[in-house]
């Protein structure tokens, strides 16, 4: 279940030289990469996220300055109880300082409570629920990559404005699906649309045809897919099979990752529009990082948005620790520092972390290329629009986070 992936050792001579001086200062960091290592979210997070953490440690420059960084990884199997147990053990036994990644909103919310209780640091990249920075917000948590509010307000809003004013939801039956449906419904109503029905589908279903038929007979203009990973790819593929898209109904893939597009194939996925906050082919810096990353992945995949978030989140975490001079092993203190410092990394550019823990950066509306437009193995997206950082996420005055009511 938990395996020690790597132990990055001290830079030799330099660290020996400074050891005497640094004696009073603790410069050791232990990172726990908690993810779905083998299930439906393993490709978008999983081992790739652990690699991202490792690369962040290498690129941080801290190793040469005498810091010691350990990374361990764990498999939460998409079960909140297992995720909680691992987190507890990491804090109590392994003395982990920071937990990263944690896709699956159900697990993410459970771990959120434990990190708060143990005063650790929690940099969540994989989970979507906007509750992490609203009702469930915590002084120990930074929610890095994306959330349901962002997805609803970019993809959702764009679809409603393009005339898709009646919706039917196919919602993954757990915390994430519920949050995404809730946030998107708000956007639909605010823009004059309506929701005509919906169906809650069990997580990790193979066959969506029954649900798709219900969506079809609802006559809604848009079928909102409030699901992720394998559930989304199966929905999209089978919607094409049942002639739903040809019948005039549009699919709103509210959350789609590059690994999903790869799995569906461009033939079926072409023309889908959706939102991500990172794509490997955005600019020179993302391309350079992705090239290094892909070379170290078994299947040569470039980083997903979630894996990119793990990297960028840790880079900022390391910067904050360096600014503090040593590791205080005090989660609130470190996260407070992280919120103080502006963020700047090669993958998400310049940004900031709000008081509620929400990391702010732009969102990108992408459209999946036609097979004829794709020139390279992972050349899948064309940029259709950018949502500026200050509009992409919940405005701070609308956040229901208790940390803001002081």
């Amino acid at each position: 279940m938990k395996n020690k992936i790597t132990a990055l050792m001290l830079g030799t001579a330099l660290s020996l030289a400074t050891a005497g001086v640094a004696f009073a200062q603790d410069k050791s960091i232990k990172i726990g990469a908690l993810s779905d290592q083998s299930g439906l979210y393993a490709d978008l997070g999983g081992p790739g996220s652990t690699l991202a953490a490792q690369m962040a440690a290498e690129d941080s420059g801290l190793l040469a300055k005498g810091w010691k960084i350990d990374i361990i990884s764990g498999d939460h199997q998409n079960k909140p109880d297992i995720g909680s147990n691992i987190a507890r053990q990491w804090f109590d036994v392994d003395k982990v300082d920071v937990i990263v990644d944690v896709p699956n909103s159900g697990v993410a919310l459970a771990v959120n409570n434990i990190v708060k209780e143990k005063n650790g640091v929690y940099i969540n990249s994989g989970a979507a629920t906007s509750d992490l920075t609203n009702a469930q917000c915590s002084p120990n948590t930074v929610h890095w990559t994306y959330d349901t509010y962002m997805l609803a307000h970019s993809t959702g809003q764009a679809m409603v404005k393009a005339g898709g004013d009646s919706w039917f939801f196919m919602t993954a039956d757990y915390a994430f699906g519920a949050a995404l449906e809730r946030d998107t419904t708000e956007v639909i109503k605010a823009n004059g649309g309506k929701v005509v029905g919906g169906v809650k589908t069990p997580l990790n279903s193979a066959d969506f045809s029954s649900f798709l038929l219900q969506a079809q007979s609802s006559k809604a203009k848009v079928i909102g897919l409030a699901n992720a990973g394998g559930d989304t790819t199966n929905s999209i593929k089978q919607a094409a099979e049942f002639g739903i898209t040809k019948g005039g109904q549009k699919l709103a893939a509210l959350l789609l990752f590059i690994t999903d597009v790869k799995a569906i194939g461009l033939e079926t996925a072409q023309g889908l529009s959706f939102t991500e906050t990172f794509y490997w082919d955005l600019n020179d810096e993302t391309r350079a990082f992705s090239k290094k990353f892909a070379a170290r992945m078994k299947n040569g995949a470039p980083p997903s948005m979630v894996q990119a978030g793990v990297y960028a989140g840790l880079i900022h975490y390391f910067k904050s620790l360096e600014a503090l001079g040593s590791n205080p092993h005090d989660g609130i203190k470190v996260v407070t520092k992280m919120k103080e410092l502006p963020t700047d990394d090669p993958l998400f550019g310049k940004g900031k972390i709000e008081a509620n823990g929400r990391k702010i950066h732009p969102g990108y509306l992408f459209e999946v290329k036609k097979p004829s437009e794709s020139k390279a193995p992972w050349d899948f997206y064309k940029l259709a629009g950018t949502v500026p950082a200050n509009e992409a996420f919940t405005p701070i005055e609308k956040s229901t986070c208790a940390l803001l009511k002081k």
Partner: protein, 291 residues
């Protein structure tokens, strides 16, 4: 929720489609259990290998869907026979538990290897050109491919049943499981027959894998997700009963389809609820002979 008759028909049909997969897979399990007394937990992994075989045939050797329907089950069937000869053979006289654990371990290894190389999200496999598109049945739009799956798997199921229950070969096979020593005395090579039977069961799983490749993603865990349901189907139908597993397979597909219509949240548990009920009332399964 008001009952819409048209929608209901559509759900029944969709249920039948899923039932075809249950039937094909549980049939293979029933053949293997009935003839070899092995609870084959590797069935899901072998089903997955069938889908991957189709994918490789297409993308590496440029062999399309139709030849793959024969080549993939053959290739995976041979792989199965090697497993039988090298491993399963040694535990044939032992308690069921040993076979279960051994095949379960094999399943984990096979899935692990595929996952290591191909990740978990899966690979796309296109529907063959001839079966693309669909027809409007009035109450629903039926993709031609799905219709093909139902008809084709029904034919395969009936042929397999006929082979085992109505031919001389099948009679020999059944006799060999009853009393291998006596059948041997008639000059029939029983171990070879058992190996071939395991190959047949595995081939059926691989065939289901090829059939499902264009519908679902070709994923390393596609079998793991399905196999538990299929085992429930076998238990409900009666372990080892050929016809029982075919009928239960289709019937449970329909029950699941109806659940998806009336109470979708329960759609992936309804089969197990039924299993519990059947076990309480008739422990040998609906069509099973009492042990």
């Amino acid at each position: 929720m008001s009952i819409n008759l048209q929608a209901l028909f559509a759900q029944l049909l969709v249920g039948l489609i899923n039932g075809s997969f249950y039937a094909l897979l549980s049939l293979g399990l029933a053949v293997i259990f009935g003839m070899l007394n092995i609870i084959n937990f590797a069935h899901g992994a072998l089903y997955m290998m069938g889908a991957f075989a189709a994918y490789f045939l297409l993308n590496v050797l440029n062999i399309g869907y139709w030849p793959a329907l024969i080549v993939a089950p053959l290739a995976v069937g041979i792989f199965g026979m090697i497993l039988e000869r090298t491993m399963l053979k040694w535990i044939s006289g032992l308690d069921h538990l040993y076979g279960l654990l051994l095949t379960f371990g094999m399943a984990l290894i096979i899935q692990g290897v595929f996952q290591n190389y191909f990740g978990s999200s899966g690979l796309p496999y296109a529907i063959p050109d001839l079966l693309k598109g669909g027809m409007n049945l009035g109450f629903m739009f039926l993709p031609i491919y799905r219709g093909w799956v139902v008809i084709f798997s029904l034919i395969v199921c009936i042929l397999t049943w006929y082979l085992i229950e109505r031919t001389r070969l099948g009679a020999n096979l059944r006799a060999a499981t009853e009393n291998p020593t006596l059948v041997r005395a008639f000059g029939i090579n029983v171990p070879r027959m058992i190996t071939l039977t395991y190959g047949l069961g595995v081939g059926l799983a691989a065939l289901a894998g090829v059939l499902s490749a264009p519908i679902n993603q070709v994923r390393p865990l596609m079998g793991a997700d399905l196999i538990i349901v299929v085992f429930a189907v076998v238990v409900i139908g009666g372990m080892g009963s050929i016809m029982g597993s075919i009928i239960t397979g289709f019937a449970l597909g329909i029950v699941e389809g109806l659940t998806k219509y009336f109470y979708p949240e329960a759609s992936n548990t309804v089969v197990f609820v039924l299993m519990v009920l059947v076990l309480l009332i008739k422990p040998s399964g609906l069509t099973g002979r009492a042990a």
